[in-house]
């Protein structure tokens, strides 16, 4: 496990909550590791498990799916589907030999800039510790 190993993490963030929260983190000049690349999607319910598998296949060290808190979805119910889908996703990953700790589904609202920073920091550290 090299110390200078910089994992590449891809985060699918919903436009209404987490992407807004990330913008707010920027607005407040919060600092977090550079490892995460954000893909903007309208809703976490838009994230097809296929996207996650593709990311891992291409070489992602970690994948995050972030959306509004359950009950707060901009589209009323989208993140409920997300939640159910990605419970299964973890098992699918494990079955395929991918450490499920490399995959994280998190709820971060548009006002939770600090939570965005903390989540990104925490997930980056975790994945860095898991190694290549």
């Amino acid at each position: 496990m090299a110390v200078d190993y910089e994992p590449k993490i891809i985060a699918f963030c919903c436009n209404w909550c987490t992407y807004t929260g990330a913008d707010l983190a920027g607005l407040n000049r919060m600092k977090y590791p550079e490892n995460v690349r954000v893909v903007r999607v309208p809703c976490s319910g838009r994230v097809n498990p296929q996207f996650i598998l593709r990311a891992f296949r291409r070489g992602a060290d970690g994948v995050m799916v972030c959306g509004c808190h359950p009950g707060d979805c901009h589209y009323s119910t989208g993140n409920y589907f997300t939640r159910r889908r990605f419970m299964l996703m973890r098992e699918l990953l494990e079955f395929n030999g991918i450490d499920p700790r490399r995959f994280h589904a998190r709820w971060i609202s548009g006002s939770e800039a600090a939570k965005f920073r903390d989540t990104v920091t925490e997930v980056t550290q975790l994945i860095r510790s898991l190694g290549k």
Binding site: K8, I10, W16, Y19, D23, R37, V39, P42, G78
Partner: protein, 664 residues
């Protein structure tokens, strides 16, 4: 798609916001090398007029077909640049924004790593835009009727402004009268004009306005639809009084034998079970409180029915649901004072009658209140000599209450002090404070005058209140002098925090609007879109968005009304074309997408087709998306087994391209 991939990449410096934290020129060079990129350039402020012109010129000069702009968040300027593209021959949806400010320059400290990340973000955007297709916005009709939720001063002002502009307004208020918190107040700072005198005429204007339908004792129960086309269900609660005939003579209120605590007087007086909220209520007609009425609970009484000269009483009255077509919604649900009793045990937790909150004091000092404006202690009716005012009760106290400042308290505490000193000659007032915050026109001067009048400001908190004889001992710290203080007070007024009104979370959830951790409604942008929400057609007015005083509330309500008027003045508006689309040839008609859609936008429809092989004419089910209802969430795309349904603007191929680009 035969569209060429001649992509132009433009990198914005955003002054030094971007250029100061990463190597813009390196990003430009890297962009030039990306597949499909025909041109790359940078500029100090791309959103400015010369910046936009630079892009438009480059489009012409280099024959660009697609555009990537690396700048601030797309939530900030995507619309700006789309509008700009309308002046070119490029479809405005052949644009991607790489967010290298909020996602890179603002959040990272390592210059090289931030640069590397910015290049990645540009690479992803270039890859995505390469798969973008021209989209055309559709026009939807707009129902020219606004709904205002909440009939406090914010709702009243918004309703009047919208109605004056010539649009229909439905004002829904859950209490039996409009007026909200403002009509409970006595005088208003800093001018000390009587609250009722300035708000009740507005209430009358509302009831008399030909464009306003007033629905009191009503609550919004369900909201469906989207901007310009909401379907709203309002429940009109049973009032048991026929308001069509009732003249509001008040006989029933006089004769009703059962009394309960008055919410309007904050428990300082009693009111009958059949009641008006206050004498100047609008509508000026009574309702029966079904929880207090003995006739409704046990069937024994019926005094009001016997006494009513016009036979207005109807014990069989039931709730009714009204359905409304609405084009725009203003949320004006206001606040409630914090329940300090459960937060501050050291202040007696409600055991001492003479520890009251600011709103109770307003009722005490109000000429139409329970004491007719005479300041008397609730316990024994004596005039107090020494009054202690405690500020920030529940505000600026994250351990016990809330971290936020409730903003109006410093000023109304000063006003309370002024009123005490005016009404109780020889009286003494001590105000315990953390800081004094009086920004506002004439505010600092008002506070200064209060001090000159004799109010004693003590910096520090009260740590304990207990009874000694018939006085309340307030023990606390004077943190400027660094010593303990003990004041024997006759009356203690706690200036409590504002909290979102009861049920405001339900309203916001129903509308799909976000709220912050404290429950205040989230505006679309804290500075530039302060009265809009993320939900199209839903606007905010007043304290529901965060604590504020009356002038700010009224200003925000008018701002909100201006937004509504702007929307309702249009006959139709363009909707986002980024909605679900079905490839009919791939659709198997399984219907998995149908139940997943939160907007019931997808239906299976019989479509003529030919049987494979035989060529026989057949009919088969194919999913169909209603463009007016679809909001573009994309949940259906994941449910589709054959990949027939896809989200325009966020197609599977576009997102996969973004993913792939990171490892090219």
């Amino acid at each position: 798609m035969a569209l060429s991939n001649k992509t132009g990449v433009f990198i914005c410096h955003c002054g030094t916001n971007i250029a100061g934290a990463l190597d813009v020129h390196k990003v430009v060079d890297a962009s030039r090398a990306l597949p499909g990129v025909a041109y790359a350039a940078d500029y100090k402020y791309l959103c400015s007029e010369p910046g936009q012109q630079l892009i438009l010129d480059a489009i012409k000069e280099h024959g660009l077909k697609r555009i990537v702009i690396a700048s601030c968040s797309p939530r900030m300027h995507e619309i700006t640049f789309r509008k700009m593209l309308k002046k070119s021959n490029i479809n405005e949806y052949l644009l991607e924004i790489a967010n290298i400010r909020e996602q890179a320059s603002w959040v990272h400290t390592d210059f090289d790593k931030a640069t590397e990340k910015a290049i990645d973000l540009v690479r992803m955007a270039v890859a995505k835009v390469g798969k973008s297709e021209p989209l055309k916005a559709q026009a939807i009709p707009i129902t020219k009727r606004a709904l205002v939720i909440g009939g406090g001063i914010a709702g009243i002002q918004a309703a009047l402004d919208i109605a004056d502009a010539g649009h229909e307004v439905v004002l829904v208020e859950r209490e039996c009268s409009i007026g909200g918190r403002m009509v409970m107040l006595d005088k208003t700072f800093p001018t000390l004009d009587c609250s009722a005198c300035i708000s009740t005429p507005k209430m009358v204007d509302v009831s008399a306005h030909p464009n306003i339908t007033l629905m009191t004792s009503s609550e919004v129960e369900e909201v469906q639809g989207y901007i310009g086309n909401f379907k709203v269900k309002v429940r009109k609660k049973a009032t048991y009084v026929n308001h069509d005939i009732c003249t509001g003579c008040g006989l029933c209120e006089e004769k009703c034998p059962f009394k309960v605590e008055s919410d309007f007087d904050r428990g300082l007086s009693k009111r009958p079970a059949i009641y008006k909220l206050f004498p100047q209520a609008v509508p000026a007609k009574p309702v029966i409180d079904k929880d207090a009425c003995v006739k409704l609970k046990t069937g024994k009484c019926g005094v009001c029915l016997k006494i009513c000269p016009l036979n207005c009483i109807d014990y069989e009255d039931e709730d009714k649901t009204v359905e409304l077509d609405i084009g725009a919604i203003v949320v004006a649900t206001g606040y409630k004072p914090a329940k300090w009793q459960s937060m501050y045990n050291e202040y007696g937790a409600g055991r001492f009658e003479d520890v009251i909150d600011g709103l109770q004091f307003e009722r005490l000092v109000n000429a139409s209140g329970p004491t007719e404006g005479k300041i008397k202690r609730p316990s024994d009716g004596k005039e107090p000599e020494t009054v202690v005012i405690v500020k920030c009760v529940g505000s600026r106290d994250p351990k016990k209450g809330h971290a936020y400042c409730s903003r109006a308290c410093c000023m109304y505490a000063a006003k309370h002090a002024h009123q005490i000193l005016e009404k109780l000659p020889g009286g003494r007032v001590f105000i315990f404070y953390i800081d004094i915050r009086t920004p506002g026109k004439g505010y600092e001067e008002f506070y200064d005058n209060t001090r000159k009048d004799g109010a004693v400001y003590v910096r520090g908190r009260i740590s304990r209140i207990f009874r000694e004889g018939d006085t309340l001992v307030c023990q606390g710290e004077d943190s400027l002098l660094g010593r303990q203080v003990r004041i024997n007070a006759d009356l203690v007024v706690l200036e409590t925090a504002m909290e979102p009104a009861e049920g405001s979370a339900d309203v916001l959830n129903m509308l799909g609007c976000a709220k912050n951790d404290d429950g205040w409604a989230q505006e679309a942008h804290p500075k530039l879109r302060p009265v809009e929400t993320q939900v199209g057609g839903v606007f905010l007015a007043g304290v529901c968005q965060g604590p504020k005083d009356i002038p700010d509330t009224v200003a925000q309500a008018s701002a909100s009304a201006a937004k509504v008027i702007g929307l309702l003045n249009k006959d139709e508006m363009e909707t986002s074309p980024m909605i679900a689309a079905v490839a009919a040839d791939k659709c198997s008609g399984c219907g998995a997408c149908e139940p997943i859609c939160p907007y019931t936008a997808i239906t299976l429809e019989k479509t003529p087709d030919r049987e494979p092989g035989t060529g026989k004419k057949i009919e088969r089910s194919v999913a169909n998306v209603n463009a007016g209802l679809c909001q573009g969430c994309g949940a259906c795309t994941v449910a589709c087994r054959t990949g027939a349904i896809d989200l325009l603007g966020f197609r599977n191929t576009q997102i996969l391209q973004e993913v792939d680009a990171l490892w090219q």
